[in-house]
């Protein structure tokens, strides 16, 4: 698609409360590329937590409230593979047979995950101003499989001259977050994130980057609990903004 004049930005509930700088960096990257970014003030959540827990009535109600925030026919950009995937892949199913099914399908069709939008639509050209750094990329399962956009984060980072990407073992394997899974099956999730953090540490990378704050909350939280000089964790938007706006 052509570069649009303006877009809606859905910050997601997780980013709004816990990782606002990631959302802000995403909005700034898009604005800098000459696109007007609209942040509808009534946005809350896409409905994913309830949908993945079986509570579809509740999920539908929340999704419907969000649906009302994006009335105009402009792209919707989401800085999260799983929230973008919820809207793009699951809203049509969730709204099936409802009066607003058509609107839900229309929004699904114009929903983009952030890295996909930066890489494929804006075709962002990045000028790396940062110091040499070795990082590892964790691709969220939703970005990889549900949205099929795992190559975009790699392509964006590949533009950064001084950043070297180290490959961890079993890269496509889930980090164990899975939303309410991490609470309902805490011990399985704990075993999974242990394996994931082990493989990330083994690369020697000083930072772990991802497109999903759910994964980062899981991986970063485990690193913090483990201690022992873990790598830092950061959302891709914040990382890109930092690398292209180095102040030192």
């Amino acid at each position: 698609m052509q570069k649009p004049e303006e877009i809606y930005f859905f910050g997601t509930c997780l980013i709004d409360l816990l990782f606002p700088k990631a959302g802000l960096a995403g909005m700034q990257l898009i604005r800098e590329a000459g696109v007007r970014v609209i942040f509808p003030r009534n946005q809350t959540c896409c409905g994913q937590p309830a949908f993945n827990s079986g509570y579809r009535h509740e999920a539908l109600d929340v999704a419907r409230a969000l649906l009302a925030c994006f009335p105009r026919d402009i792209p919707l950009v989401v800085p999260s593979g799983s929230c973008a995937g919820m809207i793009k892949q699951h809203w049509p199913e969730l709204f099936a047979g409802e009066a607003d099914e058509k609107q839900a399908r229309a929004i699904a069709a114009r929903t983009y995950e952030l890295t996909e939008f930066l890489d494929k639509v804006l075709q962002l050209e990045l000028n790396d101003l940062g110091a040499p750094m070795q990082i590892a990329i964790h691709t969220s399962c939703s970005a990889r499989r549900e949205m099929g956009v795992a190559d975009s984060i790699e392509a964006l980072v590949a533009q950064l001259d001084k950043v070297e990407v180290l490959e961890q073992a079993r890269k496509p394997e889930c980090c164990g977050f899975g939303g309410t899974f991490a609470v309902k099956q805490a011990d399985i999730s704990g075993a999974m994130v242990q394996d994931k953090t082990d493989s990330l540490r083994a690369t020697g990378a000083e930072r772990v980057i991802s497109q999903d704050c759910g994964c980062l909350m899981n991986i970063g939280g485990a690193f913090a609990k483990q201690g022992n000089q873990p790598p830092a964790t950061q959302h891709i938007a914040e990382f890109l903004w930092e690398r292209t706006h180095a102040t030192d």
Partner: protein, 473 residues
């Protein structure tokens, strides 16, 4: 709830077993690499998946007619067909056939459907001697354990554990933990049984309606021996295994073996079409097929759940599951473990019988990505979660639906719904949560057993965005 408690106990046990977890990790890595090596060209792989999906989907849509045709063809070929509604009926039919033939000893090829009916136990109780002839099945028969994987039943054991078992049951062969020596030992033990057994029992991978052919995929030759050496052969399979025509078999076989074990083709592929004829020197004098329903017809009613029955039992979803690799198969407590088990078992035996099985999935999608017949496993698992708490917005045929609905959980989601459908309330919530972030509890149940607690930022995104001059229409 009893099932849920038992499930969590099994999970704890599984996670505590470091040796088994290492065994699973190394085995699953090997299986994933093996599969990947068989599909170097993604375009070809996706085309083959489309083809396999279409074959299986068509067969399911025409299943009643195809089963009738299959019965006609098999009967014309001299194979006797029996229909079983449930496990008990299937077991009884098989027992009566064996009894009628005066059979006392049985060799078995690998069959997950017979695990489903607990056939060994049934025949054992009635005084028959049943010997599993697949090496993996033989190992777990000695260990008195159920399979931990649908293709590799003893994958949870390493060679040292197998060596110990053989030492215990066959001290005369001497201790060895060399894999080739162990295989030779098993061969020695089993060959003798093949020669003397009264009957052989096997499963079926594909039953071809057009020709009345029973296809059996295997690697050890034990399937061939079980179905040809004894004078009586009884095959048992699920009704969904029927396919329309012989030309359906090559693509299914190709994608089955490549997906399952990373083999371009298995060592043995058997096509059984009739008992021994007058001018033939070997083969069984009588062949029977038991077609088992056991809940499958109920699954067929629902257009979405029907997809579950496309399964060709390759186990690729299991091999790629990040939860299975941590737990192994026994923790699931069901006949079929892993993603296909989570999708199939609640439907087959009822949600109330499997506890919180569907929660043992992070919805990562790895299973759906590799399934050779494109079963949308994450979607089915999500659907069954909704079934479990009666969260669906339509009628359902799934047994035990709603049995996991708890009022506290339902109320929590109701509160969540209130918060996120009232933007003013939500803004108030984030205002307080960010200002009072110092009060965030340091412990949050299971989450903080493995991670530090998340802490709200100093200001929510909406406030930062407004400060930076973004429009908030």
């Amino acid at each position: 709830m009893q099932q849920t408690e038992a499930f969590h106990q099994r999970i704890d046990q599984a996670l505590d077993n470091d040796q088994a977890r290492r065994n699973f990790r190394s085995a699953m890595s090997g299986l994933m690499e093996g599969r990947a090596a068989q599909f170097p060209d993604d375009v070809e792989l996706q085309a083959l998946r489309d083809q396999a999906r279409a074959i299986r989907q068509y067969a399911l849509s025409k299943q009643p007619q195809l089963l009738e045709q299959l019965e006609r063809q098999l009967t014309a070929n001299g194979i006797q067909v029996h229909w079983a509604e449930d496990a008990e009926q299937a077991n009884e039919i098989i027992y009566q056939i064996l009894k009628g033939a005066g059979a006392k000893t049985v060799v078995k090829g690998k069959s997950m459907v017979s695990e489903e009916t607990e056939l060994n136990h049934y025949l054992d109780q009635r005084g028959l001697e049943v010997l599993e002839s697949d090496l993996g099945e033989y190992i777990i028969q000695l260990a008195e354990e159920p399979p931990s994987h649908i293709v590799q039943p003893a994958i949870h054991k390493n060679r040292f554990e197998v060596a110990e078992l053989f030492q215990k049951f066959h001290p005369e062969l001497g201790y060895t933990d060399d894999v080739d020596q162990l295989t030779l030992a098993a061969r020695q033990i089993l060959r003798e049984k093949f020669a003397t057994a009264d009957a052989g029992i096997s499963g079926v991978n594909f039953a071809v309606a057009e020709t009345g052919t029973l296809c059996l995929v295997e690697n050890e030759g034990n399937g061939r021996l079980s179905t040809t050496a004894p004078r009586l052969h009884i095959a048992i399979t699920g009704v969904e295994k029927v396919v329309e025509k012989l030309s359906d078999v090559p693509p299914l076989l190709e994608i089955l073996t490549k997906s399952a074990t990373g083999q371009p083709i298995t060592t043995y592929f058997n096509m059984i079409s009739r008992p021994r004829q007058a001018d033939e020197l070997d083969g069984p004098e009588a062949v029977h097929l038991v077609l088992l329903d056991n809940g499958r017809s109920r699954i067929r009613i629902d257009e979405e759940l029907l997809d579950t029955l496309r399964c060709i039992r390759c186990g690729a979803c299991i091999n790629h599951c990040p939860v299975y690799v941590q737990l192994g198969g026994h923790a699931y407590g069901t006949v079929y473990p892993g993603p296909i088990g989570i999708a199939l078992e609640p439907q087959r035996i009822g949600i109330d019988k499997v506890g919180t099985l569907t929660s043992a999935c992070s919805l990562c999608g790895a299973c759906g990505e590799v399934c050779p017949v494109r079963i949308p496993l994450p979607k089915l698992i999500n659907r069954l979660r909704a079934e479990a708490v009666d969260g669906l917005r339509s009628d359902t045929t799934v047994r035990g639906h709603g049995s996991l609905r708890k009022s506290t959980e339902a109320k929590t989601w109701w509160l969540w719904q209130q918060l996120y459908t009232h933007p003013g309330l939500y803004r108030l919530f984030t205002w307080f949560a960010t200002r009072l972030r110092g009060l965030t509890p340091p412990r949050l149940g299971g989450w903080t057993r493995y991670r530090s607690a998340p802490r709200p930022a100093a200001r929510p995104l909406r406030e930062l965005a407004r400060q930076e001059g973004f429009r908030d229409e």
